[in-house]
Amino acid sequence: MSKELLFKYVLTLGDDALILGQRLSQWVYKGPFLEEDIALSNISLDMFGRANLFLEYAASLKGSTTTADDLAFKRNEREFSNHILCEQPNGNFANTMARQFFLDAFYKLFFEKLAESEDEQLSAIAQKSIKETTYHFRHSSKWVIRLGDGTAESHEKMQSAIDNLWMFTDELFEMNEVDNNMLTQKIGVDCLTIKAKWDQIIDEVLSEATLKRPENIHMTSGGREGIHTEHLGHLLSDMQYLQRAYPDAEW
């Protein structure tokens, strides 16, 4: 088995959690009210915990002296392979909830499959993550419903958030060379098979929220190959600042 391909596979899972966790942490002390501030911080922490598990595993596959911190803080934008949706700015609260809702629904289904992976470590992390993602999904989907089926203004903002982020959702289901290889080896997940279930979940929640499912007019991707939107660089410059200014600093 090619360790390099497994490394790339695990890296994407770690990058998704890391970048989404960093985005969510930007809400800390700016939440719309105290309980929600705490909720977003909690979810962010779960993401960092998950990122740590995946990146530690990735680092062990890389061998030599690479650590999870090296992967998080010493790679450039083009070396990150997270899905573009994760790096999208927080925007208003509706934007953050739409992003979270799309990703929670995806990862809930993804981890259920990954739990069956023949790779023991991936299966263990997946089993752990499912439980947390179930809570996250309940939180984000409830907000989509509450805001969609709320006031005229909240409805309009929620619909516009769903519309604006829709173009990034297709990438979640794209299967590249790494994914196909991992699937053949019964390590990875067949994202095409979870697409129908994801569509169903999205449709159910959007319908309860009185929101419209957008058309697939122009879908974009490239994150897996390191082609990101301009937002990732800014996020990294903030996240990696300390390690770049004071290499190998510890506390």
Binding site: G21, K131, E132, Y135
Partner: protein, 151 residues
Amino acid sequence: MVKEISTHTIWELLKTIPDPEIPAISIVDLGIVRKVYFEETTLYITVTPTYSGCPAMSFMKDEIIRHLELQGITNCQINTSLAPAWTTDWMSDEVKTKLKEAGIAPPSAEINCPQCDSKKVQVVSEFGSTACKALYKCLDCLEPFHHFKPI
């Protein structure tokens, strides 16, 4: 020197280490200590994280080392296992009673107010002051309280 100590003694010692965020229960009550065994002269302790991002995990590991060192046990290695994933099902009824006495509704599908036992409770936030708790309030006695989330 380590060999003379039984694993039973180690378990008893671990039971005296409080959960840093819910000091009413010990780290053993919480269910994060999975295995205690000796190999040659080294003591191995296997722990499992509650939530993957729980910031108290590293502190709890440090506390285990510190408590063991106080007893003169320095040859100890702590390993982390992820599977089976931690679940609140591992908590005994005795532990659940301790939580209730501390004002935290124990993990269960039916949530009663830990103060007045009322069933009329309302969720305030699914996410509380720690990863493992949700925030509720009682509609009868009006007290806010934490619920230890069942996972």
